[in-house]
């Protein structure tokens, strides 16, 4: 069977499964639509949360980023898993006890203010949209590569599928489809990793393999990689090239951002009990860790494989580089997408890949007769191309396509649901028309999801920046706006309405301002985006950590000088701190 047929088959079968589940578990009531009747088992909920969380960025981009960043890529690994510790210990059980549908609902009630709700809804919609646009882009890339259609067609197919089950199914449909998607994506991620680990080191466990010795070479994989990349003028793989303070700040922003992402938080509203919220967080991180501990292994192996392919001989020898005309098939297929390209700068017909931005390496490169790096590789293709580079069977490559699509679709669907819930529930029912019937609320939710799919599709086709830029924005904002006020709402009785609103606005304005200043989302950047111009040497990716600190400070100071929250609110805080009496799964 050809790769093309195999891919159609793998993607087709997985879709049939998701759609089947969506139809089988169609939402009947408003509460089913938003929170799955609060009757989802912790293990299922953990898997669904993991699928929700592991987006196209985790599945497609992360290992590729790590491959090129080396140690610097650790920020994503620690940041996107460490956030679950914060979520589990500081937010999840209390929000479950609070027992409502959405994050703005909590903020509105805890801070007894419609203004606070509106600020929260704005933060939430903004975060979710930036995030979902990146997912739609991921869907488009995967479809266009494997089904060999253009990116617009790929996007339209993806939009149709997302709309179908997010809108018809609601949360309950999504929860069970996401369980299926998790299984597909984790299988698709680990199978090629195990194959490649065996091939390179003889050790089938990727987590151990990337520290093991390379087969027949008597040298450990990471040691070899460090040595090879340095000989090509790059920083050592295990050293990376980010400053310590920047690594610290980015990790913190990503951790706190994770804990503040509304589509992840809302997952913990769906379990039957407070106790289950704690257990759910454990299962979620467990399922996530399966992928996240494999990713760095995939990254390092992909980098070494890539270098070995283009530089089969000794570095510096004239015959040691791959002749372009003899390039492998995968190279040609990816060239067609434009995400991999070769430019013969020194006219020798061979591919030279090295760091031409390193001034200390220029003389060495010239002595080899190299006149600049000739290979440009888009980081996003590494995971998708890796099985092809390693010559794995076609069915594995087809599986990876299905996995990538599962990852992007599940996250997109979860986010759309959060958007539709805040529009119909928080805005329409909560603010504009309190007497809305369940049925019309559900209808508005579906319409909102439909509109959101179209906007997200448009943003995915015309992204306002690179996906990484957009994602940094989403995390920074979540860290600087939502997380601090939710946390203080639980752990302090003194923080009041005025404090929360000024905190959210301070954090939001500062973080958004800093990112726009350096990265220029929607406008041209104003500042020069290099380390010497950054505040304390912190890059825009990490600035959410500072925004968060400002939010805490502003909220505390303003609360001190204004009056304490009313008795009823203080009683509410007392109440959510104690598990007993949480509304049951059926009553509300």
């Amino acid at each position: 069977m050809t790769l093309q047929t195999m891919t159609y088959l793998a993607v087709g079968l997985s879709f049939a499964l998701y759609i089947g589940i969506a139809i089988w578990s169609r939402a009947g009531s408003t509460r089913d639509f938003y929170v799955a009747g609060k009757g989802v088992h912790p293990v299922a909920n953990g898997m669904a949360t993991a699928a929700d969380w592991m987006s196209a960025a985790s599945f497609i981009s992360m290992a590729g980023l790590i491959a090129f960043l080396g140690y610097g890529g650790s920020v994503y690994l620690m940041g996107w898993t460490g956030g679950y510790v914060l979520l589990a210990l500081l937010l999840a059980p209390y929000l479950r006890k609070f027992g409502k549908f959405t994050v703005p609902e909590f903020i509105g009630e805890r801070y007894y203010s419609k203004a606070a709700t509106i600020v929260a809804v704005i933060c939430l919609i903004f975060i979710s949209f930036t995030y979902v646009a990146g997912q739609m882009r991921g869907v488009g890339i995967v479809f266009s590569r494997f089904l060999e259609v253009d990116i617009l067609t790929g996007l339209l197919i993806g939009m149709g599928i997302v709309f179908f089950y997010a809108v018809l199914g609601g949360m309950k449909g999504i929860t069970y489809t996401q369980v299926a998607q998790y299984c597909v994506l984790i299988f698709a991620y680990t199978v090629p990793a195990v194959f490649i680990s065996l091939q390179m080191t003889g050790n089938p466990i990727p987590q151990l393999a990337f520290g093991s010795e390379l087969t027949g070479e008597g040298v450990a994989l990471l040691v070899k990689l460090d040595q090879v990349v340095q000989e090509l003028g790059f920083n050592a793989y295990t050293l990376g090239n980010k400053s310590t303070i920047d690594i610290f700040a980015i990790t913190l922003a990503l951790m706190v951002g994770t804990a503040g992402l509304p589509h992840v938080i809302v997952r913990f509203f769906t379990v039957p009990k407070v106790r289950d919220a704690r257990r759910s967080a454990f299962w979620a991180l467990g399922f996530i860790a399966l992928l996240y501990t494999v990713a760095p292994a995939v990254g390092s192996m992909a980098r070494l494989n890539l270098i070995d392919t283009v530089q089969p001989g000794e570095i510096g020898a004239p015959e040691a580089n791959l002749v372009y005309e003899e390039r492998p098939q995968w190279f040609k297929t990816w060239e067609k997408t434009g995400l991999l390209s070769f430019e013969d700068k020194n006219g020798d017909g061979r591919i030279q890949y090295y760091n031409d931005a390193n001034p200390d390496f220029t003389a060495t490169a010239e002595s080899y007769g190299w006149q600049g790096n000739e290979l440009s590789v888009d980081r996003d293709i590494m995971v998708l191309a890796n099985p092809e580079i390693a010559n794995l069977p076609n069915w594995v490559i087809a599986l990876v396509a299905a996995g990538g699509i599962a990852a992007a679709l599940s996250t997109a669907a979860g986010l759309l649901l959060v958007i539709s819930a805040s529009v119909s529930h928080d805005l329409c029912k909560g603010m504009i028309a309190p007497n809305l019937t369940d049925k019309s609320e559900l209808m508005i939710g579906r319409i909102a999801a439909g509109v959101a799919v179209c906007i997200a599709g448009y943003l995915g086709y015309n992204p306002p920046g690179f996906v990484s830029q957009v994602v940094a924005f989403a995390f920074g904002l979540a860290a600087a706006s939502l997380f601090p006020v939710i946390l203080m709402g639980i752990f302090s009785k003194r923080i009041n309405r005025e404090g929360a609103i000024s905190g959210m606005i301070t954090g939001l304005v500062f973080t958004a301002g800093y990112i726009i200043y350096f990265k220029g989302v929607f406008i041209d950047p104003i500042g020069i985006n290099t380390a010497e111009h950054w505040l304390f040497g912190i890059s825009p990716e990490g600035i959410g950590a500072v925004g968060m600190a400002l939010n805490f400070t502003a909220a505390t100071v303003v609360s001190r000088v204004t009056s304490a929250p009313p008795e009823a609110v203080q009683a509410l805080v007392e109440d959510i701190r104690v598990p007993r009496g949480a509304a049951a799964a059926t009553a509300h």
């Binding site: 650790s74 210990l89 990471l222 310590t244 690594i247 704690r278 007993r580």
Partner: protein, 85 residues
């Protein structure tokens, strides 16, 4: 529920959370970032130790922390008689 009981329960909760967060901080920001260079001198099955903490070890500890939290909190809930059902 007695006011003093409620307070004691909350204090115990805070104490547990702070202890776990201290570990959380040490394994990621400590071992994986601040002391990474010093730890890299030590070899762990082919990994530089600081690098291993940043890309593998911290994740395993995070998982363990949530498990300990869930287990200890359920114990605390029963001890203070605030557990569900």
């Amino acid at each position: 529920m007695e006011e003093s009981q409620r307070k004691a329960y909350w204090q115990a909760n805070i104490k547990l959370v702070l202890m776990l967060l201290a570990v959380w901080f040490v394994v990621s920001y400590g071992f994986g970032i601040l002391f990474k260079e010093a730890l890299d001198a030590i070899d762990l099955f082919g990994f530089k130790l600081g690098f291993w903490w940043a890309q593998q070890g911290s994740i395993y500890v995070f998982l363990l922390l949530i498990a300990v939290y869930a287990w200890q909190m359920n114990r605390l809930d029963r001890q203070f008689d605030v557990h569900e059902d």
